[in-house]
């Protein structure tokens, strides 16, 4: 039997700041359509045009996917989607509103810090 060694991928292959590809852009747009089917209070209110990097894309994708599954789970208590863990998406619906200067991600980050 042949045993093949599979080398470890170098750590510098990781780049969450890589600009998102068209594929990820489309995935985000498609997920937004799915998100819009959720009740308003379950939506992320994240402004997807502000998502520029893979890390930001991953965070949006995670939030929406968790919310879709949470909303669909039959007979289970609705789990509150996890808070933003790693990447703060640059803009949210709150930052789209005219005259508002305080962005939602910023306030979320503060809340998270307090909880710790």
């Amino acid at each position: 039997m042949v045993v093949i060694r599979v080398p470890k991928t170098p750590a510098n292959a990781m780049n969450p700041n890589r600009p998102i590809s068209k594929l990820l852009r489309n995935q985000i747009e498609h997920l937004q359509e799915a998100e819009f089917r959720l009740p308003a209070d379950k939506q992320t209110n994240i402004y997807i045009n502000a998502i520029k990097t893979e890390g930001e894309a991953a965070e949006y994708i995670r939030q929406v996917t968790e919310r879709i599954h949470s909303a669909a789970a039959p007979g289970k208590p609705k789990r509150k989607p996890a808070k933003t863990k790693t990447f703060k998406i640059a803009a949210s619906a709150a930052s789209k509103r005219k005259g508002k200067t305080k962005s939602k991600p910023k306030s979320r980050a503060k809340t998270k810090k307090k909880k710790r």
Binding site: A13, R62, A73
Partner: protein, 408 residues
């Protein structure tokens, strides 16, 4: 006719679909060791904008080479396949890859990299599997276009008239392969396993309809393999983006440029190992590793014509000024069928070869439906015409020489 021992034992079909690499780019170099593999001689070329010959080179790198992401949308692929000929009498010649890539950066030296291919030592997993099991010389993407419409063929046997990345909606009477299985009597089992919540799925249409019912994560796939609870049909998606997880950095494993190809190798190996590590599962599973489309990267085999699927994409949708009747396949991609019942070193002949067979992504629902459901009429014309691949499980007795992958 009696089923072969391989088919008598078969209980599970698993499909792992990777991203955006052509056959020649990944496996073309294997022709040097096995002339039956329809790969590269080293003399294949494309003209640059001045007509100078740009040859294939064994200089593909894992990362940072194909940036920007090579064009693989419908008009770009049309140029790659037909070399810029837009006449009604044109024939596919695979002479427009360098021209197409040049358009993105206007850099002749960089455009030549679209002709680069990997040497087998760089891809120990994929090339070992290709040589140890069955490699397809003639597996083509379903559409000369991008990811979403091509993946649709793997799920539905049609893209419902789409040739791009638009979100589409299922049109009666064509159901996804998952719907067919879970609504059958008796009910069959099926799941799409995506990597994790931060990567999610490209099959949003099913996510919109079924959410949790049909979906699992890669951790669950591993657990289901270990516990012997793998569904009859599983579709596995790699990780589509770099992100942080509970255990630290998680590198994208889909091999989509500019993601690191080596991480995709590790992912393929881990799917294989998960099945292999459960002896009962291993002897009763067929694993297909296939790529959704070529990602704009050179391949030398012209895509053949095929059965139209009944839809028509408008000139506006194709972006070429011409309608598309889904009567021609996309560029060739790597595809490998892995099973203990497949003869070591099988090369399935392809386009232009005597006795050659043509496969495409509609072959996936066609095969799964035939095997688990038998007669089933509500399929697209394309799927009905698609070749199936389980006849490759030919061995009278199970092999005991399957390779093992040890992940560093």
């Amino acid at each position: 006719m009696a089923l072969s021992p391989g088919l008598q034992n078969l209980k599970h079909i698993v499909v792992l679909m990777m991203e955006n690499r052509s056959f020649d780019h990944m496996l073309g170099a294997l022709k040097a060791t096995d002339p039956l593999i329809d790969g590269l001689t080293g003399n294949e070329s494309n003209p640059d904008l001045n007509g100078a010959e740009v040859k294939v080179k064994p200089e593909a790198l894992f990362q940072s080479q194909l940036d920007p992401d090579p064009d693989h949308h419908f008009p770009g692929v049309d140029l790659q396949i037909f070399g810029g000929d837009t006449s009604d009498t044109r024939t596919a010649n695979m002479q427009g890859f360098v021209k197409s890539y040049f358009q993105q950066r206007r850099d002749a030296k960089h455009a030549a990299k679209i002709m680069y291919y990997f040497t087998p030592d760089k891809l120990p997993v994929l090339t070992t599997l290709a040589q140890e099991f069955a490699v397809f010389n003639g597996w083509f993407s379903s559409i000369p276009g991008p990811t979403i419409c091509n993946r649709a063929f793997a799920h539905y046997g049609t893209s419902f008239g789409k040739v791009g990345m638009d979100l589409f909606y299922v049109k009666e009477p064509f159901q996804s392969i998952y719907d067919r299985l879970v609504t059958a009597t008796p009910k069959r089992t099926s799941k799409l396993y995506y990597f994790d919540q931060a990567s999610s799925t490209m099959e949003i249409v099913n996510l919109l309809q079924h959410q949790s019912e049909l979906f699992g994560t890669y951790d669950q796939f591993i657990a289901d393999c270990n516990s012997g609870n793998l569904p009859q049909y599983s579709f596995v998606e790699p990780n589509y983006n770099d992100h942080d997880g509970d255990a630290g950095a998680i590198i994208a494993s889909d091999q989509h440029p500019d993601h690191h190809v080596q991480e995709g190798e590790r992912f393929i190996a881990s799917v294989y190992n998960a099945i292999r590590d459960n002896p009962d599962l291993w002897k009763s599973t067929a694993l297909l590793v296939v790529y959704d489309e070529h990602g704009g990267i050179y391949d030398h085999v012209p895509p053949p014509k095929c059965m139209p699927d009944g839809f028509v994409a408008s000139p506006n949708d194709t972006g070429t000024g011409k309608e598309f009747r889904f009567d021609r396949l996309g560029v060739r991609v790597p595809a490998i069928l892995i099973s203990l019942w497949v003869l070591n070193g099988t090369v399935v002949k392809g386009a232009g070869e005597a006795g050659g067979r043509i496969f495409e992504h509609a072959s996936i629902p066609a095969t799964v439906t035939d095997f688990f459901l038998g007669d089933y009429d509500q399929r697209s014309p394309r799927e009905k015409a698609a070749d199936t691949f389980l006849d490759l499980l030919t061995l009278p007795t199970m092999r005991d020489d399957a390779p093992e992958f040890q992940l560093d």
